[in-house]
Each structure stands twice: as C-alpha cells, then as structure tokens.
Symmetry: C2
Subunit: 317 residues, 2 copies
C-alpha cells in the first residue's frame, strides 16, 4: 500500500570519534524514505533549495522514492552540523541553518492525498496538522516530535497526538510531555489522548510499544561498533512504517514485527555516515538480524516449549 | 538441589519520597535468601552482632532458610542508611557502619561444603575466593561485585571472575571494569576471563545475558509504582539462583527462565520497604508476572506463528 513521509531534507556535517563528513545527505524525510524504500515505494513531501545536488535527487528516485512532493525553492537547503562524543548517545548541535526549511509549508500533490500510510516526521506541529487536513482517506498516520515543540507548541502537539493512530517519541520527551517520571504512567497519559499505538524510543535500550494497556519490549540490536547515530530514529520509523505499508496491515502482530524490522534497519544505518550503509544493505542481511532478534528475546530456545514448567514454592500461602 | 549464599545481613535505614523505615532488615544475603526461599531451601553464611533481633532470625528460619552459617559475634550488626530521590535510580548513602561485618571471615559449616549452587554476593573479592576454596564439589557458582572492589581490588576480582561459572554485574561496572564504552565489547572481555554466563544488570532497562557469544535480553517488569529499590539486585539474584537450584539445572534455557523469575521477584521486592512484599507474594502472583514477561517480548502474539513472513525488497541486490 502507499506510504508518505513529510519532513526535512538536509545537508549534514557530522563529526564522530571515527571520522567526519561535510554536507552529506541527511534530514528526517531522507532517512525515513531511504529506510522505507528497502520494503516498499514511498512518497516524500519536503523542501530543498536551489543548491541541492542533482545527484541526490537521482539517487533517491533510483530507489523508487517518489519526489513529486519535494519542493524546490530559491535559497539554500537546510544545513545541520553536529558532533558526537565517545558515548554516541547525544549529538551536540554545532550549527543549524534552517534556510528554505524555515518557510516550509507542506502541500500534498493531488496524487498523494489518498495515501494509506502516512508518517509526520519531526516538524512544527501546526504543519503536521496541516498535512492531516489534506489527507482524504482513512490513513494510518504516525507522528514524531521533539523537545523543542513540547516546550513551545504544547497545544498544537496535543492536538496532533489526538488525531493520529501512532505516536513515536523519545523516553525523555515522553516524561517531559506528561510531567511523569514513571515511564509507564507517562505512556498511559499519552495513549489516553487517542493514539492506538505509542512507540517510546529508548536509544541503546531499544523501544517499547504501548497498545491497549499492553507493553511490548524490544531491545536495540547489539552492535559492537556504532559509527554515526545520525538518523537512527528516522530510519527506525522508515523501516517500521515501510513494513506496515508493505504488509498493508497495522494489527498488533504486524506492528510488533514492524518495530523489529525498524530496529534492524536503524542498526544498519548507524554503521556508517549518512545513507552509506542503507544503500548497501541486502534483504538477506535484514532478514538475518530480524531472525536474530527473535532468538535474543525468546524464552523457549530452539523451539523447545517448556512453558508449563514451574517450581515455585507456596511459601506465602 | 542445595543453594548457598554468602553476603551481608544488615539493619537498613532507608528514606524514599514515599516514606521511611529505620533499622529494617536488609543486606545482600537477606534479600537473596528471602527471594530464593520462594523457590527452594537456602543456606546462609553471614555475620551479625549481638544486637541482632531474635525475631528476624525466627522469621528467616520459618521460611526454610538455614542459618547454621550465620555467625553471631560480639558487637553491633552492620548498619546502612540511604536515601532515594524521585528518580529512584541511585541511592545516596548517608551512613555506613560496617561494625561486625568489617571482620567478616566466611567459614562454611561442614554440611555446607558440598552445596551445588552457590552465590557470592557483594563482599571483598578475597573473601569470595576464600569461600571458593571451602567448596568441595563441582558447584555452579555465581558472583556479584561493586565499583568499590573494581577500583581497589582489581586483581582479586579478576581471579574471582576466572573461577566462577556466572558473573552478575551492573552495566556501569562492566564498562568500568573493562574500560570499554561499548557494552557488548565489555561483555566479551569479561566472558573471556572464563565465566560461562554473564548477567549484566541495567536497572529499569532490565538485564542481558551473555553466553557463548549469544545475547539474551529481558526487560525489567513494567511497574508504575516503585516504592523502595533497596535489594533489587540481590532479590533478582536470589530468584535467579533459587530457580536454577529448584530445577537442578543450569542449561541456557533454564538460565534464561531463571533471569525472568529473578526479574519478577525483584519487581515485587521494590513494591515495599525491606522484605515486606517478599513475605507476602504468592506463587500465583509470581507465575502471573512470569507469563506476562513472555507476552511482553513475544513476536508471535497469541500463538500465531507467521515467522516466515517477509516482504523485503531486494533494492540493493
């Protein structure tokens, strides 16, 4: 089924303890669509300046990414520059130049309005609402956000959460948004606004899904070398929503499996700068790590089902 | 099969945002044995002073805890006093009075020397080695430690790790001990010393098991109210080793399941001060959370096996 992402396309300058890239292709819509394109076609609504390299456009199109919704306006493309220390958990932003992204006003081409799976990447919540108004059908919509909007645009963000089917949010942001230090109370509050699924991202600790009072935990794929964490969240979302769209389903089973597929694709993404790793990874490599996830969390090893075992003494009865 | 713990018995004064207890029963051997006693009998080697209340001795014995190895010497019992803030992750130690624990010299009664499952709780690594020398049979031995010994008694601690079958250690301690910021490289280094199983405790993020280059992840049980985290690690270890001893097995399947049972028992322990919750919890309640763990990590919901599904496009082939 059809899939759409609305977000940013940027040129990133990133420094990690392992190297540096200058003006490499980045942005939430870029990471999302590159990840999703491993599973299905994807439509992009974003904006770039007249300095955006043609080679990037060609590369994305060659991967089945539909760029009809990519606006090209006079001015410079969004630039972001950041650095990671050895712990790789938190980027230090060195410079942000919004440029043409500052006046981004998402306009869906007519052919995009009936898209069935939609992801609203981290943009101003008023713009996220504007996209929702342009969708004509009964889309399954996910939305991401960041602390900046939680602090400055709370009402609009709450309205987004009320109107989408799935919210993805970082652990610290979920706590900040709800004022709850306990993560499960925070999850209940956000889910109480309306979204059927809530995905809380916990960085190196993986993610948890909150759905109808039930929790599903998935670890992050165990990597011994993380090269550049930029785009981890967006490539996760792209793999997750790409999987849902490719299955044409969003039942709890498909959503759980989608979270694992998203985690696997994100795990490849962080193994190199920019999109380098996503442009190489094979379906066999993805399938291998998805299978590995199953083994890493399964209690009945190698198909042995001994789940009725139990030798608990009735000491307190 | 028989189970032995060597550790501390203390009187704890603990303050959390939810209340305060003074001189409540605590200590690693106490939490361990109270947890393990839900599953099997357990022998204790520890020391208390002549001020140690008789009611505690009677209560522990009434639960099938063998106190032949509990030394009673002249002086005061070990006291610890600490406070937790709202995040409940880290105790602030207000006061430590080692008292009779300062000269603890673990001596195993003759009847304990052939114990089959042994846990060396967090004590001086030289004392852990001394216990190992007193064990006559082919015991399955686990050892815990803390940053204090990593910093001050590295060689002895390394020798302990070389001689036991299972190490339990906190995430930050694993990184500190190995000098590796990446947790999986840290795990490989510790496992390289010899222990067949390595359990890395990650607090609210659960635990991971490293065994023959394979990782098993288990989340912490999702609690909306944590009352007092004191003893979480020791009640986890008691539930874990109690399960192994009660099964008389330590194959990878049993160890995985033991980690889940330990996590469940620790989750009950933190719901109240001291041992209060462990003295009440029923086998039915434990079984309920163990089942819940399975549901919270399982990809094939409600027994639906669709594991051969896969719609990954060969974009990079």
């Amino acid at each position: 089924m059809s899939l759409l992402v609305v977000g940013s396309v940027a040129l990133d300058t990133v420094e990690t303890p392992f190297g540096k890239v200058e003006e490499a292709l980045g942005g939430s819509a870029t990471y999302f669509s590159a990840a999703a394109s491993l599973l299905t076609g994807v439509r992009v609504v974003a904006v770039v300046g007249d300095d955006f390299p043609a080679e990037h456009v060609e590369m994305l199109q060659s991967r089945g990414i539909d760029l009809e919704g990519l606006g090209r306006v006079q001015g410079r493309t969004f630039r972001w520059s950041g650095r990671y220390g050895f712990d790789l958990n938190q980027a230090i932003t060195l410079d942000t130049q919004l440029n043409v992204f500052e006046n981004f006003d998402p306009e869906l081409p007519a052919a995009y309005r009936d898209t069935e799976y939609v992801f609203l990447a981290n943009i101003h919540p008023e713009l996220q609402l504007k996209v929702l108004e342009q969708i004509s059908g009964e889309a399954f919509v996910g939305a991401d956000t960041m602390n900046f909007w939680i602090e400055g645009e709370r009402d609009a963000l709450e309205e987004v959460f009320r109107r989408v089917q799935c919210v993805t949010i970082n652990e610290a942001e979920a706590r900040e948004f709800t004022g709850e230090s306990n993560l499960f109370r925070a999850a209940r509050k956000i889910a109480g606004l309306g979204p059927r699924y809530l995905v809380i991202k916990r960085g190196e600790y993986g993610a948890l899904l909150w759905h109808e009072e039930e929790v599903f935990f998935t670890p992050a794929y165990p990597l011994e070398e993380v090269f550049d964490p930029t785009g981890a969240g967006d490539s996760f979302a792209g793999g997750f929503f790409g999987y849902l769209a490719s299955c044409g389903a969003h039942d709890p089973y498909t959503v759980r499996r989608g979270i694992v597929v998203g985690s696997v694709i994100a795990s490849y993404n962080v193994e190199d700068f920019s999109l380098s790793r996503l442009l190489e990874v094979t379906s066999e490599q993805i399938a291998e790590r998805v299978d590995h996830f199953g083994r890493m969390t399964r209690l009945d090893i190698e198909g042995v089902d001994r789940s009725d075992e139990g030798v608990i003494v009735d000491r307190n009865e």
